[in-house]
């Protein structure tokens, strides 16, 4: 089938643009290859951005999308075509079908309702987010860097992460992309000299653990030299219920994250 698309790679336009049949075929391809992170309806999730947004961070034109799907995005969890362990890899034709499907799902982004400036104040002040989260080089280190989180997580996933951080720790990926698997589990250890350390895992294997404590200190430990080791999926992040963070304040913080991400 590839020979039917001799200039596909060079094409700036999708040869299958606005073809409903191609978009339908693209939906099946999308489910197999993309839905793990981007959700069944391309609405995104805890791992990947909502692709129904007309404005995308890493791609504007169809040619951009083709390049992103083919080669992945360095420094992110977006893998090159055929390397993610899901699906079988796609032909050029199938990639164009997926692009036709994504375009068919696009909707205008809803207007951002929150007050970003108030959100910034909450983030670095009263709500205490910046104690553990960094944005554009400023803030704490214990939790994930949130500089680009608004682009890679859906609104609903972010709300859920704030309201109920332990329900789902940071979304790890399958082992083929293991370098992105940090899940920020909570670890408590007692060292040989009796010191107790509590923190989040930076990494872990069968015999060692690399953790960061509340003070931002790294501890590089061998498990067989510890007096105790326990791991919990109860997040160190406190849950923010509606009493500690109102719905409108939460929307303000999300608006701030969106502006930070847009920079």
């Amino acid at each position: 089938m590839v020979c039917a698309f001799p200039s596909a790679r060079a094409a700036a336009q999708n040869p299958l643009a606005n073809d409903p049949k191609a978009a339908k075929a693209g939906e099946y391809e999308f489910r197999i290859n993309c839905a793990l992170c981007h959700g069944l309806g391309a609405h995104g999730g805890g791992r990947g951005p909502d692709l129904t947004r007309a404005k995308k961070k890493h791609a504007t034109t169809d040619a951009d999308l083709f390049q992103v799907i083919s080669n992945g995005i360095a420094g992110t969890a977006m893998p090159a075509n055929g390397t993610n362990g899901q699906g079988v890899g796609m032909t050029d034709e199938e990639i164009w079908e997926i692009i036709a499907y994504i375009r068919s799902q696009e909707v205008k982004a809803p207007a951002q309702s929150g007050n970003a400036e108030h959100g910034r104040q909450l983030f670095s002040g009263q709500a205490g987010c910046a104690k553990c989260h960094m944005i554009n080089g400023v803030g704490g280190r214990l939790g994930p860097d949130l500089s680009s989180v608004a682009g890679s997580r859906t609104h609903d996933a972010l709300v859920d992460s704030i309201r109920n951080p332990s329900r789902r720790l940071a979304w790890g990926l399958t082992e083929s992309s293991k370098e992105f698997a940090q899940e920020y589990e909570t670890v408590s250890v007692t060292t040989a000299d009796g010191a107790r350390i509590r923190g989040v895992t930076m990494n872990e294997d069968q015999f060692t653990v690399q953790l960061m404590d509340m003070g931002g200190n790294l501890h590089l430990l061998e498990k067989d030299k510890l007096k105790s080791f326990s791991k919990s999926r109860e997040s160190m992040m406190p849950p923010y219920d509606a009493e500690s963070l109102s719905d409108s304040d939460l929307e303000d913080i999300l608006a701030y994250l969106a502006t930070a991400e847009a920079k």
């Binding site: 197999i32 069944l40 362990g85 079988v88 032909t91």
Partner: protein, 561 residues
């Protein structure tokens, strides 16, 4: 040094052929062996020095591979598929001193999933993108390298990987991602013959290590995600001429054809993408098959879909079917049954052990194919009842839905292609396993030649997190789990059992680990810096036992100082 204490197995005539002081491999839990393997190792090494490097790997040597434990002559170490080495220089007492001896890097991306072969001091290994190489087993220095010229437009399912060579005579044999079977000269890597088995543009490929048997090279095809029609081929090792082909989906007029709705058999899948085992006593090969196509949608292919997800007992001389056993009829969860079928004798029972991707550990009588037991060895939600023959029955509500719902195990299965090991001393089968559940959804995806054909999708279910990975030791007599070694995360490592009382495994975090085969206690580990997707093996050169395994795109060898 630990000495084997069991007497020789007496009821196998081939037991004492080449070396009167050595024993045949105990193939069964009840098998006994008195050999002092240290002495055997010494004798074998002495014999090696006397051999010229041109020594042929005869079919007789393959049949009696356990008489030369310094070599690793087939994918699973011997025809029984036990992946158990009789070398015991490295044992539970001294394994703590094990050290890396060399590393061979392919210096490219992708990963090695193959188990190397060891023949008289030379390792033969295949790697990603159908590359291959021969190494000095003592130093890891390459003797030759080979890479098959793959077309640009191949799209193999699940990685551009290869799982290893077969060796026979003065050649090694591999299957390729564009469906070629190729014979290479063992001394140079030169191509001796190159046979095209199928059209890669329709989704056919080879990833499995072939099985060399008698004067044939036997290999099963991959491509269950493309709506292929699966087959197992036997080639004349000398010429590359096809001797026979067994289609794993029966055609019109053949038994089992009526287990397919309409024309669905034409694109029925049932690939045979792993290596089979062989029982000389009954002259049967045991070859396992994968999912029917499309993997996650049963509508349109009503029926049991024979011989998908089955073990086939074939006469290797004719390719005719003696019997079959289907583990997962009418599969809708991608539970390929392509795990290595392990042959074990226990008392007067001739068993086939199969820890299946669907979460059940099956014990069959390999003479007849009769089921002896089926016991869950991991988390499963798809079956609550068994039929009158003891086969687990699928719940109706386990079928994928349009919206998607959670079923355990997930599509990756309780285990997968990575080889298990059997230790005759403990009588246990060791299995790398995973407890993960997936959301299975379905959609009426049309078949299009050469395109991925899943009938929709699956992905990990958050309901069942975190996913558990563990090495499990299973007792074939009871089906029970004797011990479990939990991994930090699920691994794709195969296993090696040793007469030194050890089980070797690798993990997703890059560790190579030795455990006590009796207890599961970890005794040694080494961080290799790359996730393991391969099976370990063992060999000896100059009287020194080595253990080798691939991690990432490199091959590592370890020995005592």
């Amino acid at each position: 040094m630990k000495l084997a204490t069991q007497p020789c197995h007496s009821d196998r005539s081939e037991a004492k052929r080449a070396n009167k002081r050595s024993c045949v491999i105990p193939t069964g839990a009840g098998a006994q062996a008195t050999a002092k393997w240290r002495n055997l190792l010494f004798l074998a090494t002495t014999a090696l020095l006397a051999l010229s490097a041109a020594a042929q790997v005869t079919s007789d040597r393959l049949l009696h591979a356990d008489q030369e434990p310094q070599n690793w002559l087939t994918y699973s170490g011997n025809y029984a598929g036990q992946r158990h080495t009789l070398l015991d220089q490295i044992n539970t007492a001294n394994v703590k001193n094990l050290a890396a001896k060399w590393v061979y890097q392919t210096n490219t991306g992708g990963r090695i999933e193959a188990t190397p072969l060891a023949v008289d001091g030379i390792l033969y290994e295949t790697g990603q993108d159908d590359r291959a190489f021969a190494l000095d087993a003592r130093t890891g220095r390459p003797i030759w390298m080979f890479q098959h010229a793959l077309p640009q437009d191949i799209r193999p399912c699940c990685g551009r990987v290869n799982r290893g060579f077969a060796v026979l005579g003065d050649r090694v044999y591999l299957g390729t991602l564009d469906s070629h079977v190729i014979a290479l000269d063992r001394k140079t890597g030169n191509v001796v013959w190159d046979q095209v088995a199928a059209d890669y543009k329709l989704g056919y490929s080879f990833t499995a290590a072939p099985l060399a048997l008698k004067d044939m090279i036997i290999i099963g095809v991959s491509g269950g995600e493309y709506g292929i029609r699966g087959f197992i081929d036997a080639y004349d090792a000398a010429t590359g001429k096809l001797r026979w082909r067994f289609y794993t989906v029966p055609g019109p007029g053949e038994p089992g054809h009526d287990s397919w709705e309409g024309d669905s058999w034409k694109i029925g899948g049932a690939p045979a993408w792993n290596t089979g085992t062989y029982d000389a006593a009954t002259n049967q090969i045991f070859w396992c098959t994968g999912n029917p196509s499309p993997s996650n949608r049963g509508a349109g292919r009503a029926g049991d879909n024979l011989y998908s997800n089955s073990v086939l007992a074939l006469n290797p001389d004719t390719g005719k079917l003696n019997w079959y056993f289907q583990f997962t009829p009418h599969d809708e969860h991608d539970w390929d049954a392509t795990q290595i079928p392990v042959l074990v004798d226990s008392g007067n029972q001739h068993l086939l052990l199969h820890a299946n991707r669907n979460g059940f550990f099956y014990v069959l009588d390999r003479s007849t194919g009769k089921l002896i037991s089926a016991t869950a060895y991991g988390k499963q939600t798809w079956s609550a009842t068994k039929d009158s023959l003891g086969r687990p029955l699928a719940k109706k509500e386990a079928s994928p839905t349009l919206e998607g719902h959670t079923v355990c195990p997930g599509a990756l299965g309780t285990t997968n292609w990575y080889p298990p090991a059997y230790n005759p001393q403990t009588g246990l089968l060791y299995v790398t396993s995973r407890d993960q559940c997936d959301i299975f959804s379905t959609a009426p995806q049309p078949y299009e030649a050469g395109h991925a054909y899943y009938g929709s999708a699956y992905f990990p279910s958050e309901e069942a997190e975190p996913y558990i990975g563990a090495l499990r030791a299973l007792d074939p007599a009871s089906g029970d789990k004797k011990w479990e070694f939990p991994h930090t995360s699920p691994t794709w490592s195969g296993l090696l059992s040793t007469a030194g009382g050890l089980i070797f495994t690798g993990d997703a975090e890059g560790n190579f680990i030795a455990l006590d085969a009796a207890t599961g206690k970890p005794l040694w580990h080494f961080q290799m810096g790359g996730a393991v997707y391969a099976g370990p093996m063992s060999f000896a050169v100059d009287g020194k036992q080595y253990v080798a395994i691939a991690a990432g795109s490199s091959l590592f060898a370890f020995a005592l100082p």
